[in-house]
């Protein structure tokens, strides 16, 4: 067997004299004898080229933030559960992968597919009746809400509000689907409350088994809400799986286990939110952060806080807006500030774009003005509105977010501010939207960015067209990973290499167990699973 040295010598010889036939023969002779060694030696000299590029047509596909370089072979919109089953069976029969998406508001590659793309939001968006006849006698069905996977937060909260109910917490945009957001580790704000995955009680998943047959499961906690005997009698075609290991794998699984048809979540009585947003020097807020985070939750002063930081100095200081929210029984009153209520995309985006092109060093003061315009005091809103970001959702951004331990978040934020300032100074690379700190309780879902640690999600929305935006977001992720074990939000821009997974997620093996079992033949694999190496031996 040729040695690595022999391979390399032959490669070097041919590189030195690329027209020499004997030297080419030597390289090929060694490669024939030892293909693996030849591959390794070539890789060591220089990375091998990707597949030979072909001149074939690519038709890019876009749906809101979801972008694919090529349009999927089929875009199928199921009208009901039977339709969904039939679509997946067609995909399986044709050896085509499938991916369900909400409305494509995620920024990540988790929704990519070359096979069947299944947008759920168009038709599968109904609120369902919880079937109380199959619940355990001890379960209170009045605080459960079941809906199809395409139901948006807006659909769900509208339905609940009319019935005097509300979700425990929610992300800041009403057009996101609960299931899509939950599946990618999405969350609201509140250090007392876990991400959406922690509110789920049952997930109805449609998948493809090892024999290419479509199968249906209802996944619940080990002490789940359904009575197994009643469930089996009423739904013989759906296998009830009550197992924490499977449930915590499925709850944040990025669509890799199949298509979630419906979710059942726990809800609560309706409530209003009193909100105050005020601008401070970050150095004033930093020493208060520990107390502010501890003072959230039922029976405490606050429901949640958010801190939006302009990481660049203005008048010699770094400024932020602290948003404090508390639950109240007061009826709605007042109005949010102009920039939250109406300050969406147009004027701010155009202004900032112009200045980015003309004079990037003006970005800090423009952001400062924008932050100042979000201040308002003692505004009372319904919970669905109070937990919503407002019109700023409409800004054309690309976003990434990273979860870090919430302990000592003040020092970490200082470090991050210095990082963004360095990039601005040394590379003229700015973030063009305030950086947000939102707090989330530790989660049990194995791949949740908040898995087993109280977490601060640090969000970096960046206006489209910002120079070096992707590089900045990648550098930001790398910085937080290397210094603080930062975990990426799966629904946002994520360039993380898969070899970091095992370091960040101590229960990765348990997650992969369910991945192999529920998606045994790769019908729900895609660019994301490749990037993460889920199927790597």
């Amino acid at each position: 067997m040729p040695t690595n040295l022999q391979h390399k010598q032959a490669i070097d010889d041919l590189l030195a004299e690329p027209t020499s036939r004997p030297k080419a023969e030597r390289v090929f002779e060694l490669a024939r004898e030892d293909p693996g060694g030849a591959q390794q030696a070539h890789e060591e000299v220089a990375p091998a080229p990707a597949l030979l590029p072909l001149d074939i047509e690519r038709r890019p596909f876009r749906r809101n933030n979801l972008f694919m370089s090529d349009t999927p072979k089929n875009i199928a919109v199921p009208e009901n559960r039977a339709d969904l089953v039939a679509i997946l069976q067609r995909a399986a029969d044709a050896w085509l992968g499938a991916k369900a998406i909400g409305d494509g508001y995620g920024f990540a590659n988790t929704g990519e597919t070359r096979g069947y793309l299944i947008p759920m939001v168009d038709k599968l968006n109904r609120i369902l009746q919880v079937d109380r006849t199959v619940l355990k006698a001890s379960v209170d069905g009045s605080n459960l809400c079941q809906f199809e996977a395409g139901a948006t937060l807006g659909n769900i909260t509208d339905y609940l509000w009319k019935r005097g109910k509300a979700v425990f917490n929610q992300p800041g945009y009403e057009n996101l689907t609960f299931v899509g957001t939950m599946s990618s580790g999405g969350h609201g704000s509140g250090s007392w409350c876990g991400p959406l995955s922690e509110h789920a009680r049952a997930l109805h998943i449609v998948s493809v088994d090892a024999d290419r047959r479509v199968v249906e499961f209802q996944i619940e906690h080990s002490d789940g809400i359904s009575d197994p005997a009643k469930f089996a009698a009423k739904y013989p075609g759906i296998e009830l799986v009550q197992d924490d290991r499977v449930f915590h794998a499925c709850a944040v699984s990025m669509g890799c286990f199949g298509v979630i048809y419906s979710a059942t979540i726990e809800v609560r009585d309706a409530y209003n939110i009193r909100e105050t947003r005020r601008k401070f020097r970050f150095s004033e807020v930093k020493p208060r952060l520990g107390e502010l985070v501890a003072d959230q939750g039922p029976g405490k002063r606050l429901h949640s806080i958010e801190v939006w930081i302009n990481p660049y100095e203005v008048d010699g200081d770094v400024w932020c807006v602290l948003g404090e929210r508390s639950e109240t029984e007061d009826p709605p009153r007042g109005q949010r500030a102009f920039a939250i209520e109406y300050g969406g995309p147009e004027f701010f985006y155009r202004l900032l774009s112009w200045w980015l092109a003309q004079e990037p060093s003006a970005v800090p003061v423009i952001m400062d003005v924008a932050l100042s315009a979000t201040q308002a005091s003692d505004v009372v809103l319904t919970a669905p509105k109070g937990l919503n970001f407002g019109a700023t959702n409409l800004a054309p951004v690309t976003a990434c977010s990273c979860g870090v331990p919430s302990e000592n978040i003040g020092d970490l934020a200082d470090d991050l501010i210095a990082f963004f300032q360095r990039r601005a100074k040394e590379e003229t690379a700015y973030v063009t939207s305030p950086v947000g700190l939102r707090f989330v309780k530790a989660a049990k879902a194995f791949l949740s960015p908040a898995f087993e640690r109280d977490t601060c999600m640090i969000e970096v929305p960046t206006l489209l067209g910002t120079p070096k935006a992707r590089e900045t977001l990648k550098a930001y992720h790398d910085f937080l990973f290397e210094k603080y074990e930062g975990r990426p939000h799966w629904g946002q821009v994520n360039d993380m290499p898969g070899d970091r997974l095992a370091t960040l997620y101590p229960s990765l093996d348990v997650f992969l167990e369910s991945f192999r079992v529920l998606n045994p033949k790769g019908f729900f694999d895609n660019a994301f699973t490749e990037q993460m190496g889920f199927r790597r031996p």
Binding site: A31, K73, W95, D211, E239, L240, D243, D525
Partner: protein
């Protein structure tokens, strides 16, 4: 899915057919039929799976369609390949269809590959040759423990339901493949629930 043994297929391209009839002016098609994409050892048993299809348009439409079609892992090649090209005034498209096959008798469904073809070299073993008769001087190599088979039998003893049984099988295989000899012996001996569950204690 069905098995075919002793199937006669050559590895050379043996023919192609052309149909130059189109439905509309300026459109014509060209059909190529190949026995397989690479040499096939007709003497070996094989399992042939249902058709797979790839499509592409552009100057390299045929190559693109074949690359798209070759999206299955754990198979040894593609049989009865039909490449159907369509030419219009502005566009050249191709559709490749074939039957994937695997040598042997395992009917295990191939895995769909999500990414591009791998760059690692593929080792294609030659035709099987009969094992040399032992002279008796060299002890025969002990057969490797078949974790897959043992765990398939073991899992239903400790769990019920397809998912939980599959999970039990997966966990069993992961542990078995770590060359945990005590575990291997235990699952081999277990023939009912009590003795099987005893194997799961660390």
């Amino acid at each position: 899915m069905h098995e075919r043994k002793g199937r006669h297929v050559g590895w050379m391209v043996f023919g192609w057919a052309v149909a130059a009839v189109g439905c509309a002016p300026h459109t014509y098609t060209h059909v190529t039929v190949l026995p397989s994409l690479r040499p096939v050892d007709a003497a070996r048993p094989m399992v042939v799976f249902s058709q797979v299809q790839g499509k592409a348009c552009g100057s390299d439409a045929v190559l693109g369609a074949i690359r798209d079609m070759k999206r299955l892992n754990d198979i040894d090649g593609y049989l009865e390949v039909v490449v159907d090209e369509t030419f219009t005034r502005n566009q050249h498209c191709a559709q490749a269809t074939a039957y994937p096959f695997r040598y042997g008798t395992s009917t295990s469904t191939p895995v769909i590959r999500a990414g591009d073809e791998g760059r690692d070299p593929v080792v294609v073993p030659g035709a099987l040759v009969p094992a040399p008769v032992s002279s008796g001087e060299v002890p025969p190599v002990a057969a490797l423990f078949d974790c897959s088979q043992a765990c398939q039998r073991f899992a239903p003893l400790v769990e019920t339901g397809t998912v939980k049984t599959a999970l039990a099988r997966d966990r069993c295989e992961q542990r078995c493949k770590q060359a945990d000899v005590a575990f291997q012996k235990c699952i081999e001996r277990a023939h009912e629930t009590v003795t099987a569950k005893a194997c799961l204690t660390p």
